[in-house]
Symmetry: none
DNA sequence: AATGAATGAGCGTTCATTCAT
DNA sequence: CATGAATGAACGCTCATTCAT
């Protein structure tokens, strides 16, 4: 069973920079070619390192892609935690979370989409699923405040709903996030039974 | 000019059975391995035919996958059309559509999921997109009756929402559709603003 | 060791017609696609018979191509024999042979060229080489009359020269046989030391 | 855009040796099996490298064969240029060119033959045709000195004649080049009308 | 006989991965 | 540490050939 964890902890600055370059190269190829056409040789070339170097930091191709996924998800989770930490009221918090989700998905929409498609074929690690659960848990924590008797799966459903609407919009060519935001808010409020 | 249409119309009964066997084998591999690991040789083997036979009916790998997609989508669309034809009231129609979606998605949830992920990489034909639009149009037609001033994208969003909740549930291990149905109805009613 | 002889002697008229259709179809494909792209299935289709029928008359692909070659060479040889039979003087005979060669090559120039390229890869039968030798012998017979002390290989060389000039001309895009004829006559007379 | 140019410039010595080994292996297979039966896997195997290595240097099978062709033609052209550079009288130059052609063709006669048959199916590049034209131009330049009113196609014809006689001789089993040389000189002188 | 569905060896090619330098 | 030449399993696909109907 091959691991999808990086090989080195990158204690040195240079190594860190190399790893980041590799991850960003992979991200860019994911954006431009989709997951099926991405090859490790291309990633290395675009990152400006040799293929041997790539394999010194990542044990295999999946590990590189997983690193991209991790980087993106970590950013989203950090945003969520920031919002929670702000201690706004529950409704404002929910609104902020929705906006953060939308903003995240629309920063690099093709990348977000590509990752979504690749994720289920990736065989991720326990820690990755843990982060997913943590993200849902953050939402659940807020949901319980505004809708105490909501379904236990409400948070999961809400995250799924937001992603689905955003992705579908992106895929059908919508390029204006401000046209999507109200639909997300409406979908979430509606699901939770909050009066709009 | 690479088309994704089958090669022959399969006039003989044997040929028809062969084509169906190939499609079903592809569907099963999609379920068990996902699209990335599906190979034409495996499809042929699982279908119990030689690789040459597969290529006598489908011009390339994509055509085989497209045939699976078409089979599934056609079944869903037919279900929708049946429901519409029944001429129930709009609310009952919506309920029936939701249930049909759930049933369809839950019959072979891993297949539905895999197809969803593969579809955008498939370069489908005009007729396939036409079917997609027809499906959304059917929904839009009903939506407009219960929510005349709904967003133009409402139908698209609703289909996405239902699929997302169902898929997420399936992926997180939920096996009981009756636990999902109320959440779908709630999400849809909520999005459309039909009472609290 | 597979034979390249037809399978049946085609006693019946229908069978003869079928075989001729197959040979002509192969000839046409040789002309339009060259030997590398010719497939037995295409030959059968163009001939209007099933692939099974083709294999009932010819044991393999090479046999079909060899049949084309045979047909063409037999025609050329027959022309040569006609000319010899006419009993003209040796110089006129030589001129007539040259013109016949040129005419033959220019009737279906692409076919002649394709056959020339395929012939050495064909592993022909004894009888085929016998016909080649017979053709050269016919020429040698005339050559000896006009140049009694010519090299023993003179006839072989002359046939090769005529084919080479004609083919090179055809390949370089020359379409007018009347521009080639004088060069052939000059090359032959020159080689034989006849005063022009 | 499929080019038949090599992929890398082979900066390291090892790479250069690998490329040469591949080309030589292809040449040997061309000699022993002809172009139709040559496969990239066999070439790689005979060259003692893996199939992947072959494709690191040549983008496709045609490129490998084109490299063989280029190597041979470049050698012949270089020989011609050497002779021209020697500045002999025109008749001696022609004699030298004929001998060079014969020597070249007889060094590896089966290879020369195979290449001749493969060339037209190869879809060569502009530069390759340029070299062909240069070779014919060199000959034309000398021809014009000894036969000022020769046909414009004389040089082309002469090259074709020499090749044809030599190939035919080689194919019919002649193994002694000294028996061929006088026939070539006679054919050329005769075609050009240089004394009897 | 004639058909054409079926076969499967084998082709050209890719690309994740290794390891000598 | 980095390089990049080399590897080779495995892929998508073709096509000569067979054989049940």
């Amino acid at each position: 069973m091959t691991s999808h964890q990086p090989r080195k902890s990158a204690q040195q600055g240079r190594a860190k920079a190399t790893m980041a370059a590799i991850v960003e190269a992979a991200a860019r190829l994911l954006e431009t070619q989709g997951g099926a056409r991405l090859t490790t040789n291309h990633v290395a070339e675009l990152a400006g390192v040799s293929i041997g170097t790539l394999y010194q930091y990542y044990p295999n191709k999946e590990a590189v892609i997983a690193a991209v996924l991790r980087r993106e998800k970590a950013a989203l989770l950090a945003g969520f935690e920031d919002i929670i930490a702000r201690g706004l009221g529950p409704k404002s918090t929910i609104d902020a979370l929705i906006d953060a989700t939308l903003a995240h998905q629309y920063t690099r929409p093709r990348l977000a989409l590509a990752l979504e498609y690749i994720e289920p074929e990736l065989g991720l690690l326990v820690e990755d699923h843990a982060r997913d659960r943590r993200l849902v848990a953050l939402v659940a924590q807020v949901v319980i405040e505004v809708a105490p008797d909501a379904d236990a799966r409400a948070a999961q459903d809400l995250v799924a709903i937001c992603r689905a609407i955003t992705n579908t919009a992106a895929m059908s060519g919508e390029t204006d996030p401000t046209a999507i935001a109200p639909r997300l808010h409406r979908a979430v409020s509606g699901y939770l039974g909050l009066h709009a």
